[in-house]
């Protein structure tokens, strides 16, 4: 028996960055930490910061990243980028990840002291928010696909049965 599912597939995962716009005019160093679930992000190279409304690549620097143990990808990244107060008031910044392409990287000069603003990963970006490249995919899946793998239990059981029989009859 098969089950038919339909859904919308996004090209990548995207989240708004919640940034409190600064009161004073000037250039700001925006920084924050983003956490990922195991297997969600293979490499920090697959992260981008986009700027609304035209989703231009804002450029950023990864200060620090940490991996999940056992090769399950990236656990967290500390990100920083430079933005003006006007940009922070008028534009929204989106964190995008999951695409297999190298992000635009910029190095923030540590010698320049800029006032800091921190961000938090906000709600997920939906189709209504921006023009996302989307496609529809119909997937047919078995209700219990794992049953196919249980055939391994047959040889395992047979060998263990043979082992026990031989143990009992060993002299």
């Amino acid at each position: 028996m098969s089950l038919c599912l339909s859904g919308t597939v996004h090209a990548a995962e995207r989240r708004f960055l919640d940034i409190e716009p600064p009161q004073k005019p000037g250039t700001y160093l925006v920084s924050g930490t983003v956490f990922f679930n195991p297997g969600e992000l293979a490499s920090a190279d697959s992260i981008r910061i986009l700027k609304t409304p035209d989703l231009t690549d804002a450029g950023f620097e990864v200060l620090f990243s940490e991996e999940w143990p056992g090769g399950s990808g990236v656990m967290s990244v500390d990100i920083t980028f430079v933005a003006s107060d006007k940009e922070l008031r008028t534009n929204r910044f989106i964190l995008e990840w999951g695409l297999e392409k190298r992000a635009k990287r910029e190095t923030v000069d540590p010698g320049i002291k800029l006032p800091e603003v921190h961000f938090n990963p906000g709600r997920e970006v939906t189709v209504d928010d921006v023009q996302l490249p989307v496609g529809t995919l119909t997937v047919k899946v078995r209700r219990h696909p794992e049953y196919y793998y249980y055939w391994y239990l047959l040889p395992i059981g047979a060998i263990l049965g043979l082992l026990i029989w031989r143990k009992l009859h060993a002299r």
């Binding site: 195991p38 293979a42 490499s43 920090a44 190279d45 990864v62 620090f64 990243s65 940490e66 991996e67 143990p69 056992g70 090769g71 399950s72 990236v74 794992e146 196919y148 793998y149 249980y150 391994y152 239990l153 040889p155 395992i156 060998i159 263990l160 043979l162 082992l163 026990i164 029989w165 031989r166 143990k167 060993a170 002299r171």
Partner: protein, 338 residues
């Protein structure tokens, strides 16, 4: 040079050690196997690993888990992905579907059923390391301590206890509310496993973590881990194959010693109870000499090193069978001092 059993065992150990520990260096670094996994190329280029627990990051050459202490944390990775303890701990923590674990379990059962603990005696890199230290001890003419039957039984019980405790811990930290502990307690048995210390070091890495001596905390942990490695080396020096009495993989493989396809047999009428077999046995098995009723000597301690067969002075007294066919039997040979 006589092509004795010991010669072939040493030869196999060296070849297996090179393959299991240095394959990542030989194949992945040279680029021949890099195409198997893109992480082999990109990993480490931009990511800084801060965890104090993990060093291995590169892809294995073969995605398999054979019996034997084949460490997952070898720098550049070895021929296979890791050992079975790693597989079980990882699967319990990450709730890996049974369907993905079963193939590895089947491979383990087949290999164990075929040759039992021969993996320990001929293939395991940690066993080879122990044998190397034992050879150094013999060269230095240091006497080794004999592990009594009671101590062996105690180590076996401790091994069961540790295995189930660490497996339980692996399951526990897989619970959502305790997942924050994974950063510190993921793969708990690996934290005390000497293979985890030895294999990365001989492959040119650090025994504990990638940081080395970067910070004070890293320095402390590095020194502690090297100290632990020295402790294990001293243990191997003091008593032959001492870890093999405790090793959970050896414990699991030992269930297949009796009833498996490989059988060590004795013809009781030819045995004169001289005890040479007990003297040369690295596991200190006494039943080879003492067994009177049963012809089958494949007990759980036996690692099929076949030193007893090689050094037994009675012709055709001891023999090794595979699928009921005789592979090798004892013959007359002068016995060296040990």
């Amino acid at each position: 040079m006589r092509l004795t059993i010991t010669f072939w065992r040493r030869f196999t150990q060296v070849v297996c050690f090179a393959l299991l520990v240095y394959s990542g260096f030989i194949f992945v670094r040279s680029g021949r196997a890099a195409g198997n996994d893109s992480r082999a190329e990109t990993d480490g280029s931009n990511l800084r690993v801060s965890s104090i627990l993990f060093t291995g990051r590169r892809a294995p050459v073969i995605d398999a888990y054979p019996p034997g202490a084949v460490c997952y944390f070898v720098k550049d990775r070895g021929l296979v992905k890791g050992c079975n303890i790693f597989l079980i701990s990882d699967a319990l923590t990450r709730r890996t579907p049974l369907s993905l674990v079963l193939p590895a379990v089947l491979v383990f059962i087949i290999l164990s059923f075929l040759v039992g603990r021969l993996w320990c005696g001929w293939v395991c890199p940690l066993g080879a390391f122990g044998d190397l230290i034992d050879a150094i001890r013999r060269r230095l003419r240091i006497r080794h301590a004999k592990i009594s039957d009671g101590a062996r039984q105690g180590l076996r019980i401790a091994s069961y206890t540790t295995f189930f405790a660490t497996s339980g811990l692996s399951f526990f930290i897989g619970l959502r509310q305790f997942s924050y502990l994974q950063k510190y307690l993921y793969l708990p048995f690996c934290e005390i496993c000497p293979a985890r210390l030895m294999c990365p070091v001989v492959a040119g890495g650090s025994p504990g973590f990638a940081g080395g001596f970067a910070t004070t905390a890293h320095c402390i942990f590095t020194v502690l881990l090297y100290g632990l490695l020295a402790f294990f080396a001293a243990g191997f020096m003091a008593a032959r194959r001492v870890w093999c009495h405790f090793c959970p993989i050896g414990l699991a493989t030992s269930w297949f010693n009796r009833g498996g396809m490989l059988e060590l047999r004795k013809e009781g009428t030819r045995c004169n109870r001289c005890g040479v077999c007990v003297d040369v046995c690295p596991m200190g098995c006494t039943h080879i000499r003492d067994e009177k009723e049963s012809e089958l000597l494949s007990r759980h301690e036996c690692i099929y090193c076949l030193r007893c067969v090689e050094f037994c002075p009675k012709k055709k007294c001891l023999r090794l069978n595979f699928f009921g066919l005789k592979l090798v039997e004892s013959w007359l040979r002068p016995v060296k001092a040990h």
